[in-house]
Symmetry: D4
Amino acid sequence: MEKLTRINYDDVAILLIDHQSGLFQTVKDIEVQTLRNNVSALARLAALENIPVIATASEPSGPNGPLMPEIQKLAPHTKYIGRKGEVNAWDNADFVEAVRATGRKKLMIAGVLTSICVAFPAISAVSEGYEVFAVIDASGDMSTWSTHITMNRLQMANVIPISTAAVISEVLKTWDKDFGVVSEYAQILTLVMPNYQALIESHVKAQEVALQNNK
Amino acid sequence: MEKLTRINYDDVAILLIDHQSGLFQTVKDIEVQTLRNNVSALARLAALENIPVIATASEPSGPNGPLMPEIQKLAPHTKYIGRKGEVNAWDNADFVEAVRATGRKKLMIAGVLTSICVAFPAISAVSEGYEVFAVIDASGDMSTWSTHITMNRLQMANVIPISTAAVISEVLKTWDKDFGVVSEYAQILTLVMPNYQALIESHVKAQEVALQNNK
Amino acid sequence: MEKLTRINYDDVAILLIDHQSGLFQTVKDIEVQTLRNNVSALARLAALENIPVIATASEPSGPNGPLMPEIQKLAPHTKYIGRKGEVNAWDNADFVEAVRATGRKKLMIAGVLTSICVAFPAISAVSEGYEVFAVIDASGDMSTWSTHITMNRLQMANVIPISTAAVISEVLKTWDKDFGVVSEYAQILTLVMPNYQALIESHVKAQEVALQNNK
Amino acid sequence: MEKLTRINYDDVAILLIDHQSGLFQTVKDIEVQTLRNNVSALARLAALENIPVIATASEPSGPNGPLMPEIQKLAPHTKYIGRKGEVNAWDNADFVEAVRATGRKKLMIAGVLTSICVAFPAISAVSEGYEVFAVIDASGDMSTWSTHITMNRLQMANVIPISTAAVISEVLKTWDKDFGVVSEYAQILTLVMPNYQALIESHVKAQEVALQNNK
Amino acid sequence: MEKLTRINYDDVAILLIDHQSGLFQTVKDIEVQTLRNNVSALARLAALENIPVIATASEPSGPNGPLMPEIQKLAPHTKYIGRKGEVNAWDNADFVEAVRATGRKKLMIAGVLTSICVAFPAISAVSEGYEVFAVIDASGDMSTWSTHITMNRLQMANVIPISTAAVISEVLKTWDKDFGVVSEYAQILTLVMPNYQALIESHVKAQEVALQNNK
Amino acid sequence: MEKLTRINYDDVAILLIDHQSGLFQTVKDIEVQTLRNNVSALARLAALENIPVIATASEPSGPNGPLMPEIQKLAPHTKYIGRKGEVNAWDNADFVEAVRATGRKKLMIAGVLTSICVAFPAISAVSEGYEVFAVIDASGDMSTWSTHITMNRLQMANVIPISTAAVISEVLKTWDKDFGVVSEYAQILTLVMPNYQALIESHVKAQEVALQNNK
Amino acid sequence: MEKLTRINYDDVAILLIDHQSGLFQTVKDIEVQTLRNNVSALARLAALENIPVIATASEPSGPNGPLMPEIQKLAPHTKYIGRKGEVNAWDNADFVEAVRATGRKKLMIAGVLTSICVAFPAISAVSEGYEVFAVIDASGDMSTWSTHITMNRLQMANVIPISTAAVISEVLKTWDKDFGVVSEYAQILTLVMPNYQALIESHVKAQEVALQNNK
Amino acid sequence: MEKLTRINYDDVAILLIDHQSGLFQTVKDIEVQTLRNNVSALARLAALENIPVIATASEPSGPNGPLMPEIQKLAPHTKYIGRKGEVNAWDNADFVEAVRATGRKKLMIAGVLTSICVAFPAISAVSEGYEVFAVIDASGDMSTWSTHITMNRLQMANVIPISTAAVISEVLKTWDKDFGVVSEYAQILTLVMPNYQALIESHVKAQEVALQNNK
């Protein structure tokens, strides 16, 4: 079956699973700074467009460490679900109920580790009829092979891989919006693409100089 | 469904989306020089075989920068479509109309960034019945992971990935053509494969030397 | 067909094929130390949860070398099947019979080389109705291209790729277990993720210090 | 449809397309030495098991250069088909006829460049009912991206990717053969796996020493 | 002559040369985000310990773009020197005079591009008797070869390569300081080592939990 | 001055600095498993040949975490020196005194991070007349650039870089020793070279088989 | 002895050795396109500033192939010296005489292969009192190891490694020149840094837009 | 002191140390096929120019395995020295005497592992007045870091690193020799540079075709 879906802000929920400071140390397929930036970008997007966010942590009192604080800081409307030891967040009834309560049928799932914390609930959610996207670069895994393995496994389960920048851009849909909204989107994208920040700085300066010289 | 299509010059249109000097700075999965060469090769191919080309840019007055000038220089018949802020070119009615007007049903799409500017219209075009190819190495993305992610997503949407050299060679079909056409194809291929240029230089020299010595 | 399966300890058998000291020298897609650790982790998991293990070696008297001894040491219940020269373990009737005797229908296959010793029996087992998983990072291959090739071939044959850590975590299912079992799982996971070991050491120390200071 | 095929020496033909000294210079995804060794291994396998081989070259008088001589030296029964400029070997009637004449339905295709010389005839052959395997590491392409792109395209066209070592091992099927045949297979495999050669040398020496000491 | 120098805050000046948003786009040997973080860390260090900072930009009105604003924001005492087109900052008399005015004899030089904007003034400064350190990872260059080339050239000119973290740690000298200073150093180091941030988060949480449980 | 020194067990002391579980998480230039193995190998070597070992940790009660326990377990004669916040271990009088007390003039220094915890005391020790070796692969740093930078800086300070395997082999000097000592050296080397372990397993098996067959 | 030299256009000669189309095929440490661009940039620089260029080829009638034509096209004043089989260009009396005739004492040497065609004459020239720079990225070698080896060997022989961009920038010295000269330098630099071309395009566009909007 | 030496066939001896099939399995910084080819090339060079070769193996009856047979096959005049357990070949009096007996003062040393079997005797030989070259790519080491470490250590000991191709080319000195000798050199170089073989094949073919067409 062709996967031809499109994503708008009113049919999406974002699930952030086990983005914890201890687990970050086991991530080898992406720089931790980049990973945190990408998760922060999703949080800001959610806040901007009122997209439901559900966050959960596995054993935050143990070596896995606390949830990264940026999530709740940038998206204060995030619903946090404590788990009772379940590895697969979908095995936790509260979590599943929270997802259902959003009423959304398209789920963007990111987490650490991709092969476990993303893959298990993603496959479970597909089996219950959700359309599921795995936001691979807002997730982290223990080796690059593990990420390749997981992407193939997810493909076989009809979970669609997507990048953080693509999620943001599909929700954005058009730049023809209020200046404030456009500015916020630009800032969100610079989190994901540091070269874009330099681009904007250069652009603004070039225009200032042109106008200055033109006086 | 097996994807067993073949590509000839009379059933193809080429869509070049957002090859802009600002966006080039965010490309990390291919050298900018190689990317520009590959796009130029598609433009020359289109000019040679009268393949329709539609180019479009997102916000060319902003930080994304102007369209790379080689496109319109090498393929002066390129139709340029200005967009009104739409991220997905397929959301712009003029663009869709321009594609329809070509009468072609096989679309070669390249663009920057692959995960956004290629992926979105590619998926949209499939949903309207086009056979869509994503020319991955005439496109650029913000990380190698993003390209892997996007190739898997496109595969799930029945978009066929293809390389620039394969597009040129499928349209070429046979070297049994006029010398002038063959020469132009050889030059187009050296844009895509710099080692091929050295190969031709060595070959010509070797033959000159043999004839010289034989006198 | 969507592959939405879940793995529990009572529906799984583990097949370890040709993890031999000679063949290890031909492995280029993973460090030998990491490969041995991952196989050892599967053996400990099997011992902990009474998962059937069948091990086999190809020509252990020849240059391929002896089976790595950790398997039988860590999982003494492993059934060893000698082969009579067959490359594909599934061509050996004793091996197939041993698999059948377990009564399990989900097979986790790992081996060296992935493209041969894993791929051949995996495809054979699918054709006889088993649900087959290839544990890619408890296997080794002669080049990274060979691993990519094999993963694609296996996907086309409906063999699901999986990582060692994912196998362990899916069998674990929940951390809400006896302390002894939880401890054993933690040690198994540190075999697969050396950074996790350092994480636990730091965590324990931090808590000791906090309590010490609090006295 | 699941691709669960097995390969034996009596249902296979090997097609070697454009392994030419000039084109080798454009190959960037594999070392030229390794590529030549892998092609030589297929030739020796074919000679040993009387597998039909069809070789063809594109423009061997031009910069693409002559066919690598090892093919016809190691597999003298190779049928050589000259083409008349066709890029896709399947567009040449003599070539297609030669394939048909073998009576084999499983085709192992290798060539340079993978994205062109392998991909085009592979897709064409599938459309005429052949079961087609692309021997990726006996082929070469102009970039690693191009190989990834091509493997995805081939997968969508139901062409199965396979490694040289896997082809040899599936045809071998069992080591329980005459000593002479086994020796030849061992030598063929050392072409593909240089570490295997050192393994055999060490093994022989270790046994000599043991017997010497035991006298 | 052995280079056995040690660095303390009262014998050092920091020179930041051409960290401009346009030039950042040409940097290929380090992630732009990492480069900016490392420069920001030097600026915060300078502000904390009253180390003189001299910043300069080449043609900030042209395509090279404006100076990154973090420098003057984090280290408001930075002295900015405009140049009149000189490539080598040491060819600008105002710049040399500003360096002399600091009275410091150990110069930490960072800049973009390393091979030009760092190498030229570094060599010039050595020739006037300064002890010069090149902070390689607070600098960026156009290729990894260029960085290797430049490091060798600098070594031959007696310029000492150093990392940002080493500069910070040598100035820190001891953690036996006021809590406020220690906290600031910890934050500076997390800019340079994102994994260190996660480490601190985990540590604090582990201690909170221990104390909580102990109540 | 040429550095032509040789290393024997009676002129050497080993200094292990800040091999702590927290700091391990910041190491990016070597796998943590490999780093720990190499440090363990040095500890076993020291125990075997009565080489003095001095270990020290920076702030083991804080986020840097506890010293890796293998050191004191494998080399119980290790002298542990607590520091009072000094970054450079050589700034701690107890540490310097402990080094002096060994009477050794050749120091093998390893630590985490190489650019800080190894480089600073190494340079200090050279300035007091010691001959100093930096055991680079028993150390870890935050990036590969940082290691390259540090190796160049150390070379300029006359600190000699050396690998763990070279240290062991120079101390070993000859295999013409008691069987027990030779066995211990073989085990130490397999810690550093996992492929060597497989080599020994294959060798032993090959000889067993030869003798078995010869009966 | 410290190497503190500076390079101006009146004390330099450029020696281009064996940049031949056949030898280019053996280059593995740099893309052929990039290598040719860098050599072309040196040729344009020489033409602009009247820097003497001496080019030589080894056996251009044989498999090494003809000299790349860009050199003589972009720098028509290039003096070409035919050799009589000598590997080391410095063994050819005509070549040495041509160098002497320039009267320049600072030699910029580039060539293919670096380890042979650059290293041999570079070492010879140092021994006759020249100050010699090896332009590493306008040269190519057969492996990255070979380049590292050669850079170390050259350093030991007091040959200074330098990048193409650094040569251009040191000769440029200041941007405070006639507009025509500045434009030519900008174009030369875009040959070496393709991202710089996009930077200029964006800058010009940004200024046009600003002025347009301001009307 | 500048190292400006040149190498001719009458002042050189080649020392090949521990190129054994077991040790080859521990080599990670170069492909085993490439390593063996490079050693074979040195052996053929020595046979061609009557350069003395001394080979030695460490414990060839143990897991290190037998000496690679190509050495004595291609250079039958090789003198083999058995050692009595000494790690450093220079600690064996027979080996040192054999070197002295050659009367040569420039030693080309290659071996496995570079950090041990090359580094130790190289440093020892320098201390006795030899001029020593380490042929890095005819040697192999256990990691790329180990090779970098060793190259720096050797540089500090005045051992000059060199590539196999450079050794051959310096001994060759000029192509102006008898056709038979030139042919042998060409074949030796194709062992080291597989692309060179394809170059010659293409060249010969191009000339044949030119002459054929000219008839």
